[in-house]
């Protein structure tokens, strides 16, 4: 069969990097084609070239048998190529409909024809089974919904090829399932899909074929029926990768964290954490599973002092820490890996060394009184860079210029190096490639084996299952059940996460 799209020998350079180095890629009509590779392998760059955002220095693109140059996204859109970017291109205060029609608004005179817009969007959403509320504002809907809007945007513009850049990185398992159903539906109607991901089980589940990239080059394209996650992982990293986490029996110590009847509100002052009680002992990992938006984020913020609980008490090593500030809690040796590394975990325009002391900057040896001890700080940064294998030219590089995986490593390094008694890790491997995931998982297990208590929040069931010793399931702000990890299965957790109690 003739591919609908071929990209041949694409080369794209950035100052200092060859992001795409003679890349070849082809897409069949009606297929779901996964594009995988480590952080910085050049996946997004390749797709940006296809979408007309970047112009390659070399290479050819042929679309529906015709060779062409794509200079502008508009041109790509006209050709029938749509792209859902990793960081959504949605205007927050505008409504779903407004976002979908933006740039191709139906008008009546000079006025936007709102009725027609609503009708079009409604029809489209029915046709492809993408259920959304057309009048809701983007800022008020979930990430999963936002993604549907992005897909609808491409469909509204008549896309035949839809590129999805890491669409599942921010989705809950439920949402991932829904997304996959949608994607299947789209291919059934003749659309072709390019799907970038770091999750190999997703590749196996949804994709027909997969192209693997490494360091700007294509390593190969395989049919998912004829490959295995292990093989894909090896192609990506260039060596053998441990996909299963190996860990020993937990050696439990005394109780480190005790949470008693904690409730709290979200930013809109609605109660989202409801009478949560739990306890973690030294040397133990407690995983919190739950569909995102069930109060995990707020619970973590309460535990780390970023949010005030409305009731309840929190004890750390039998000392009450309820209502302490973020700094006081960190000073009680609580390490915290936040879910949003760009907004919370890092100051992107600070250097690595400055980021390496965020939150502990007022402590010895980094500060004497109010004076920073710059030589200690530099030493610390160099130390972290080496110990955690942070790939950077030097410690003065701004965090902004690092890849997601390396950014995450800075945070993990920083938090593990404060000698924590408790580590709270929220989505620690989100958007990070498997090499880095492997590394991060190893670090977490090591910390546990050193006798630290770990609270792990993740939307990845696989991650929860493989790391945790016990698993608490949260639903609508309540802990529905806490089960031993050995007795947990995906099905069992899935039911609990949906609020079904035994």
């Amino acid at each position: 069969m003739q591919p609908i799209l071929t990209m041949e020998n694409i080369t794209k350079r950035f100052p200092g990097v060859i992001a795409n180095d003679g890349v070849n890629f082809d897409l069949q009509a009606g297929e779901i084609h996964a594009l995988v590779g480590e952080n910085g392998a050049g996946k997004s760059t390749l797709m940006n070239v296809l979408f007309g955002l970047y112009q390659p220095e070399e290479g050819k693109i042929a679309y529906k048998g015709e060779e062409l140059i794509i200079n502008e996204p508009t041109q790509a859109i006209k050709l029938g190529i749509g792209m859902v970017h990793q960081h959504f291109k949605l205007v927050q205060p505008l409504t779903v409909t407004e976002n979908i029609i933006l740039g191709s608004e139906p008008t009546l005179g000079i006025k936007i024809n709102k009725e027609k817009a609503l009708k079009d969007v409604d029809e489209l959403s029915k046709k492809y089974g993408l259920i959304i509320d057309p009048k809701a504002k983007i800022e008020n809907i979930t990430v999963g919904m936002q993604q549907r809007v992005e897909i609808l945007k491409t469909l509204y513009r008549g896309a035949d090829i839809i590129i999805l850049d890491e669409p599942t990185a921010v989705l809950t398992p439920q949402e991932v399932k829904e997304l996959f159903a949608i994607l299947k539906g789209l291919t059934d109607q003749g659309k072709s899909i390019i799907f970038i991901t770091h999750k190999l089980n997703e590749v196996m589940e949804i994709a027909d074929r997969a192209t693997v990239m490494r360091r700007g080059k294509t390593i190969g394209t395989v049919s998912t029926k004829e490959t295995s996650p292990t093989q894909l992982a090896e192609m990506m990293v260039g060596r053998q990768v441990l996909l299963r986490v190996e860990k020993q029996e937990a050696k439990l110590g005394k109780e480190v964290l005790k949470v008693e009847g904690v409730s709290g509100n979200d930013d809109r002052n609605l109660q989202v954490v409801d009478n949560v009680s739990l306890s973690i002992r030294a040397g133990e990992i407690l995983g919190i599973a739950g569909v995102e938006g069930n109060g995990q984020s707020e619970l973590i913020e309460i535990l780390t002092g970023l949010r005030k609980p409305t009731s309840g008490d929190i004890y750390l090593n039998d000392k009450k820490i309820t209502g302490l500030t973020a700094r006081e809690i960190k000073n009680s040796h609580v390490g915290y890996i936040p879910e949003d590394r760009h907004k919370r975990g890092l100051i992107l325009d600070f250097s690595i060394s400055e980021n390496a002391i965020l939150g502990i900057h007022q402590r010895k040896p980094f500060a004497k009184g109010m004076q920073l001890n710059l030589s200690e700080i530099k030493k610390h940064a160099d130390n972290l860079i080496e110990k955690y294998d942070i790939r950077t030219p030097n410690r003065e590089v701004h965090a902004r210029n690092l890849s997601g995986g390396n950014q995450q490593k800075i945070i993990i390094a920083r938090e593990l190096e404060i000698d924590p008694v408790l580590i709270i890790a929220s989505q620690p491997t989100r958007g990070v490639d498997i090499g880095a995931i492997e590394f991060i998982h190893k670090q977490i297990i090591e910390a546990r084996d050193e006798g630290k208590a770990v609270l792990l929040v993740s939307a990845e069931l696989q991650e929860i299952l493989s790391l945790s010793d016990r698993i608490a399931v949260i639903y609508e702000g309540e802990i529905v059940d806490i089960i031993d990890a050995k007795e947990a299965t995906e099905e069992k957790l899935g039911l609990l996460m949906a609020g079904v109690r035994n």
Partner: protein
């Protein structure tokens, strides 16, 4: 006393004082809605006031003066645009430079053209239409037209989009750069017009520095009004009213300077007590770089 504070002449005074603020604030919000910080309103207004008088002086036609003011404001805005859109300069820096430029250039040209450094000769002013000069009516109309354009037309939707998330707009084929230029230029034209309202609407001369900080007050009104036309109208009217009030209260035994603080204290209290947080467009102040989209 109450009659002194609420009567027709107070209403008129409020409207007159509010007009240049309204027009300038609307101009400001069009630019800022598109993502360009407009601290340069004061300078554009001043340049407009000056050009209006010069053109009216040479042509004897105040309407041409108004046109000149609009063009002059537009040209100042174009400079602001080229520097901050094309060359991606910090928009606050560029705006500050525009203000400095206008302050110097008006006096410089006053000397070149009229040989004086303070007050221009008297020129023909705009006719009065009833109790007001024509620009007052235009100002009120402008608020509602802008409201309609911003919220009901596709152009307005696009403006709102590029101020919040320019690369989102770009990837659906909206020319962010061009749109920003247009918005900045419109903003300058409106500020220029507001300047003409001062020099040819209320008066018939240009006096150096005659905007006396009104551009900054308009900026405050725009923020106060949360970057919406109706909000800007309300804030400008509040400010106009408290100015009129201040004027009516002078000479009643309280030292004038204390009375003159009223509008500013009024604004601060209103903001702290009732209005609170106003969130600017998300991409405000960030130069749009196609390469980084």
């Amino acid at each position: 006393m109450w009659q002194d504070l609420f009567n027709m002449s107070m209403l008129y005074a409020t409207l007159r004082a509010a007009t240049p603020l309204i027009i300038t604030a609307i101009g400001g919000l069009i630019a800022e809605r598109s993502g360009i910080i407009n601290i340069a309103l004061e300078g554009k207004m001043l340049m407009g006031a000056f050009t209006a008088v010069v053109v009216s002086y040479y042509t004897g036609n105040p309407w041409l003066g108004v046109l000149g003011a609009i063009i002059a404001g537009g040209i100042m805005a174009l400079i602001h645009g080229v520097v901050s859109i094309k060359y991606k300069a910090n928009q606050v820096v560029s705006g500050t430079a525009i203000n400095i430029l206008a302050g110097g250039l008006t006096i410089f040209l006053l000397q070149i053209i009229f040989g004086v450094a303070g007050t221009s000769p008297q020129v023909k002013k705009l006719p009065a239409w009833g109790p007001f000069h024509p620009i007052v009516y235009f100002g009120i109309l402008l608020v509602f037209v802008t409201h309609y354009v911003i919220y009901y037309t596709s152009w307005g939707l696009r403006v709102r989009a590029i101020g919040e998330h320019p690369s989102a707009a770009d990837t659906v084929g909206i020319n962010v750069i061009k749109m920003r230029y247009i918005c900045v230029i419109i903003s300058g034209m409106l500020a220029g017009l507001a300047g003409a309202a001062l020099s040819l609407g209320d008066l018939n001369v240009f006096v150096k520095g005659m905007t006396s900080g009104r551009g900054y007050i308009a900026l405050a009104a725009m923020i106060f009004g949360k970057w919406t036309p109706i909000g800007a109208l309300g804030a400008s009217l509040l400010f106009g009213y408290s100015t009129a009030l201040q004027m009516g209260l002078q000479g009643r035994g309280i030292p004038s300077q204390i009375v003159q603080m009223i509008p500013y204290i009024f604004t601060m209290i209103a903001l702290a007590g009732f209005v609170g947080k106003s969130t600017p467009p998300a991409a405000l102040g960030e130069p749009y770089d196609k390469a980084k989209r």
